[in-house]
């Protein structure tokens, strides 16, 4: 049952009342439901507005792609909402759109019988005895597309730990936002998959998916980056010059690091060709890495 306060907030904030009521109703039946009441009303409003802008403008039904969860603000420790992308719902949507035929999401434990044909994107996975309490060695998400192709995204246990640690400490303020390892793995893997999903032939021409994918990746990337960089003590990493910084990546960061050592030219003067220099042969040989540097600067959502 929705609290009157939340109900009023939804009605005054969003046009997508039905969808938001459903989302909050679902959240109110979870074990953290009591914490939703602890969230500041401003935060609830902000979350509703953000998601409406992100997804609601495309189709209100797309709001079902997320679950409302509660996290702790890493600085203030106040309870806040977190719209967590739900893997099952995302894939169900892809199925209704005729993109995906079936999927498999699993955590692989040491006592499972597991084999992956990486070159063909095929997985054979027989679960072992779950009562033995084996540790996990990785996770995977296998999508079978309607066009007959399939694609598997996977992570080993170190990547899972690292990504979990990054989100858990820097974004969730130490709270268990996800109910179990599988749910967390699904979130991490769907983020990884989204990065290149719109390159699939069947997705390119879809009227909504390329925009949706772009907005979702930007949203979670910005979310992660905001807390990650604010948590970082390095001056250069904290300085956000502009959202365009990622196009130059490392070169710009290097320049920022040197800021104190450089005698700055007057800011209002641009001298074309001023920074010319004689380059040695070594300089011309480093470009493959420097190009990678440009592009791969961001750790995006901690799962690349």
């Amino acid at each position: 049952m929705l609290s009157v306060q939340i109900e009023k907030l939804i009605k005054s904030t969003s046009d997508n009342i039905k969808q938001w009521e459903t989302l909050f109703n679902l959240a109110s039946h979870s074990h953290y439901s009591a914490l939703i009441k602890e969230c500041a009303l401003d935060d609830v409003v902000a979350t509703i507005k953000e998601m409406d802008m992100l997804i609601g403008s495309l189709s209100p039904e797309l709001l079902n792609l997320v679950n409302i969860r509660v996290r702790k603000h890493p600085y203030t420790t106040a309870y806040c909402l977190f719209p967590a992308l739900n893997t099952d719902n995302v894939i169900a949507y892809l199925e209704t759109q005729g993109i995906v035929k079936s999927y498999e999401l699993a955590v692989v434990y040491d006592n499972d019988k597991f084999s992956i044909d990486v070159s063909s994107n095929k997985v054979s996975h027989v679960k072992g005895d779950s009562t033995q309490g084996a540790s996990y060695s990785g996770c995977y998400l296998l999508l079978e597309f309607e066009n007959g192709t399939s694609k598997v995204w996977y992570m080993d246990e170190y990547e899972m730990h690292s990504a979990f640690d990054a989100w858990q400490n820097k974004v969730f303020g130490g709270m268990d936002v996800f109910n179990n390892t599988l749910e967390w793995a699904g979130f991490a893997l769907i983020l990884r998959a989204l990065k290149t999903l719109d390159m699939q032939d069947s997705v390119i021409s879809h009227p909504v998916l390329p925009v949706l994918k772009s907005r979702l990746t930007s949203y979670y990337s910005d979310f992660f980056k905001y807390y990650k960089e604010a948590n970082n003590d390095k001056f250069a990493s904290c300085v956000i010059t502009s959202q365009y910084v990622s196009t130059e990546g490392g070169e710009l960061e290097e320049a920022l690091k040197k800021l104190d050592d450089i005698i700055e030219p007057p800011a209002n003067i641009i001298v074309l060709g001023q920074h010319n220099r004689q380059v040695s042969n070594e300089d011309t040989e480093m470009n493959e890495a420097s190009e990678d540097q440009c592009e791969f600067y961001n750790l995006d959502f901690g799962v690349i």
């Binding site: 070159s119 290097e254 493959e288």
Partner: protein, 261 residues
């Protein structure tokens, strides 16, 4: 030539708006959908974000910025920074004796161009480890690569990487990279302070590198006689190592081809 900031902004904006006709002509010629004003805004912001950054865009000839802007339109890729399809970079030009702005293709841009061609069914890039079952079957065949564990700790040392494309007609194009070459690129990335190369997600970085290398082979196969074969869209520096590549590939083939088993 010295310009005030205002003069430079006017110059850049004026030159960018002046090429609208050419921009639109490229789009209609190829049927691509990009919004001129949006793209102009991207490129303008990108260039100006390099203000006071050594060797960055504002200190390169404006013509090279315009040329890169039009090149992006020609191949129909947006310069939107969040999309990361293609990007602007500066490079030292031996011929002009100064830094110039150039268009670079990101791995996402490469994938988009590849799938957009209508000739590609699927592209796979992966690295493999010593304990994986891997077999290289030649440049026109699919590789064999299986493993029974996901944990890298159980898979041994990095043994190489590959990127393979299955074309619509059922044929394959495969590019392989030996570990020495991957690690050499990785070292350069680390030396430049790129934290992603130092993270546990390093295989993702390696896979992106493999996609970029593969594009040199794939592009001429799927875009014959078209704008995509503009040499500027390739990593020119990479070509300088062609003799090394040859040697690496021969070494790789002898180690991982069927005959080696």
């Amino acid at each position: 030539m010295s310009l005030s900031l205002q003069e430079y902004q006017n110059l850049l904006y004026g030159k960018l708006t002046a090429c609208k006709g050419q921009f639109d002509a490229y789009l209609s010629e190829n049927g691509y959908k990009l919004d001129f004003n949006t793209e102009l805004n991207y490129v303008y912001q990108i260039v100006m974000s390099g203000l006071n950054v050594e060797y960055s865009f504002p200190y390169t000839p404006v013509e090279s910025v315009i040329s890169s802007f039009l090149k992006a339109a020609k191949i129909g890729l947006s310069l939107c920074p969040t999309e990361q399809l293609c990007f602007l970079k500066t490079e030292y030009s031996e011929s002009s004796g100064q830094y110039v702005t150039q268009l670079g293709l990101g791995y996402k841009g490469i994938l988009k161009l590849a799938y957009r061609s209508g000739k590609v069914k699927q592209i796979n890039a992966n690295v493999f480890y010593e304990k994986d079952n891997f077999q290289y079957n030649g440049v026109n065949s699919k590789v064999t690569h299986t493993t029974t564990v996901l944990s890298k700790a159980m898979r041994g040392k990095l043994a190489g990487g590959y990127c393979q494309t299955e074309l619509i007609d059922g044929s394959f194009k495969t590019t392989v990279m030996p570990p020495e070459e991957i690690l050499a690129i990785e070292e350069q990335g680390k030396a430049m302070g790129n934290e992603a190369w130092l993270s546990v997600h390093v295989d993702q970085m390696r896979e992106k590198t493999l996609i970029k290398r593969h594009w040199k082979t794939l592009c001429p196969c799927i875009y014959r006689d078209s704008v995509m074969n503009d040499p500027m869209l390739f990593d020119d520096q990479d070509c300088q190592h062609s003799s090394n590549h040859q040697a690496y590939e021969e070494q790789f083939e002898s180690a991982y081809s069927r005959e080696a088993y």
